[in-house]
């Protein structure tokens, strides 16, 4: 009797401690995000008063001579990210479909971990590969003046986003109940029709999450982009823009933060670029979770 009470007390104490620890960790994670955002605002907002807005939103970036136009940087990030998405999304989705639906069990057991290993390659290594090998391949095959272009960056980024997309999308397809496929096949649908019109449709929200996570990784990537995109800050409003050098927001921050004088206008502008990047990522995530939210409500309605 006596022992069981102390035992229960001990259990409830561990329970109590564990619960608080988990709550605490969660709270700290959220607190950090807020602190980072507050710091970003504190260092970045002065840029909007120190630099005249027509300078800040011009198309010339040359900070050592007081040209602070951030438009070419935003343009550069968008071009590289859209390029990466165009390359990575179809390949990622098709790979996920192959692994989840078509490949035999044993092949699947090999393929999935292998694709996840790709995610572990450091971005500097990929950047170096892009700089030394890929850039000349791109230049020679497409007959461009230089191989250090947005397109080269997009290929490297697509490669980095693929493991995320494949892995998450494959999980989503895997989670679709067996009975859906059986029902489709029983109704006389072919295998391809079953995959495309039933399984993929049912796993849509998970696939969308996969795409957004992949794109999120691409837009925030720094090192590889810094090494292969050529970093020329100019806006090329023409169809061939993907095949020209660009300068992204992340590469600009990484290349210039190291030597900028703390508290100078240039320093504040770099943080302002950080705010812009934060806002763009935030919007991407918001759109993604909104789409997923709507999706889940619809499927809930359908099933009820």
């Amino acid at each position: 009797m006596n022992t069981s009470i102390t035992e229960r007390k001990r259990v409830s104490f561990t329970e109590f401690a564990a619960e608080r620890l988990i709550t605490g960790s969660g709270a700290v994670a959220i607190l950090f995000v807020f602190l980072i955002f507050a710091f970003l605002l504190r260092e970045g907002l002065p840029a909007f008063t120190e630099v005249p807005l027509d300078n800040l939103f011009s198309s010339r970036w040359y900070p050592t001579e007081n040209y602070f136009g951030i438009l070419p940087l935003i343009f550069g990030s968008l071009v590289v990210t859209i390029g990466a998405a165009i390359i990575a999304m179809p390949i990622g989705l098709l790979t996920a479909i192959f692994i989840a639906e078509i490949a035999p069990r044993w092949l699947r057991e090999i393929l999935k971990p292998m694709i996840e290993i790709v995610a572990g390659i450091p971005s500097v290594v990929l950047g170096f590969f892009g700089m030394v090998v890929l850039s000349s391949v791109v230049r020679d095959t497409l007959n461009l003046p230089t191989g250090l272009t947005a397109f080269t960056g997009s290929i490297i980024l697509a490669y980095m986003a693929l493991p995320t997309i494949v892995s998450v999308a494959e999980d989503a397809l895997d989670a679709v109940p067996r009975s859906y496929r059986d029902a489709a096949l029983a109704l006389g649908a072919t295998r391809w029709q079953t995959i495309w019109m039933v399984t993929v449709k049912a796993g849509k929200s998970g696939i969308l999450t996969a795409m957004m996570l992949g794109v999120g990784r691409a837009i925030g990537e720094t090192m590889a982009v810094l090494m292969v995109t050529g970093n020329a800050a100019r806006i090329a409003l023409e169809p061939g823009a993907l095949f020209m050098p660009v300068r992204t927001m992340t590469a600009t921050i990484a290349a210039e933060m190291g030597e900028v004088a703390q508290g100078s206008t240039h320093f504040h502008v770099l943080f302002a670029i950080g705010i812009v990047l934060f806002v763009i990522t935030f919007i991407v995530n918001l759109v993604a979770s909104f789409a997923i939210f709507r999706q889940s409500k619809r499927s809930a309605r359908l099933l009820s």
Binding site: R60, S136, R139, G147, A232, G258, A261
Partner: protein
Amino acid sequence: MRNLCFLLLLCGLLLTACGGRASAQADAAAQKTIENTGSDTIVNLALAWAEAYQKVRPDIRVSVSGGGSGTGIAALINKTADIANASRKIKAEEQQNAEKNGVLPHEIEIARDAIGVIVNAKNPVQQLTLQQVSDIYSGKIKSWKEVGGEDRPIVLLSRESNSGTHVYFLEQVVRLGNSKDKTLFSQDTLLLPSSEGIIAEVRQNPNAIGYDGLGYITSDVTTLAIAPKDGGEYVKPSVETVNNGKYPIARPLFMYTPGEPTGDVKTYLDWILGPDGQKIVGDLGFVPLQ
């Protein structure tokens, strides 16, 4: 029981850790350290000097780090460095900040660096005038055909705009030393984060033109001969042409100390300026002082 064992083990580990640290401190006390930081252009040279000096004076340790000329001078002002390396002269505002902080920077020229203009080995162009290099980098000349080469577009390569080499090239080559000139690098210029990146692209790309410190240029790219004036003599960069002033794109490299150097720092700097130190300058592809 298992807990006790673990505790004992932990105590043992802590004790050895403390012991280790104590002996390391004793070593540091016997050895004097000179903090040397700054320009990335000079960092390899400074490292080679520090290594060689270790054999001359084992009791003195020179600790070298890079980060850029600005970083080095900032460290000098904040009194965290004994010697700051700079590939440019100290700026007026830096001098003021230093004096405000009670530091009087003392300048010593320690070597010279020539900046070579490089093109791909397949490019038939072997020489350019300074004016042509300026027009190429400001975007007025866009094809190799205009300077006697093949009909190919010119791809401009440069270091990032905060590098001392970039600033020197902008002022002395693109603006031809005219301080009122506000010309900038063409917007099409690719800004690469490292010397390695520039050499790698020039090596592969027959359209490219780049520039870099002589010490970084490898033999598989073509270093152009440069004429200071139209119709002038075309000169390739070398120890001789830099020291007799014929090669136009060369700059002095400096070390700054807080006030006149004294004691160990002075003996180190004297050794650098002496024959042993200057031999290393030549070995690394920089230009020794005469």
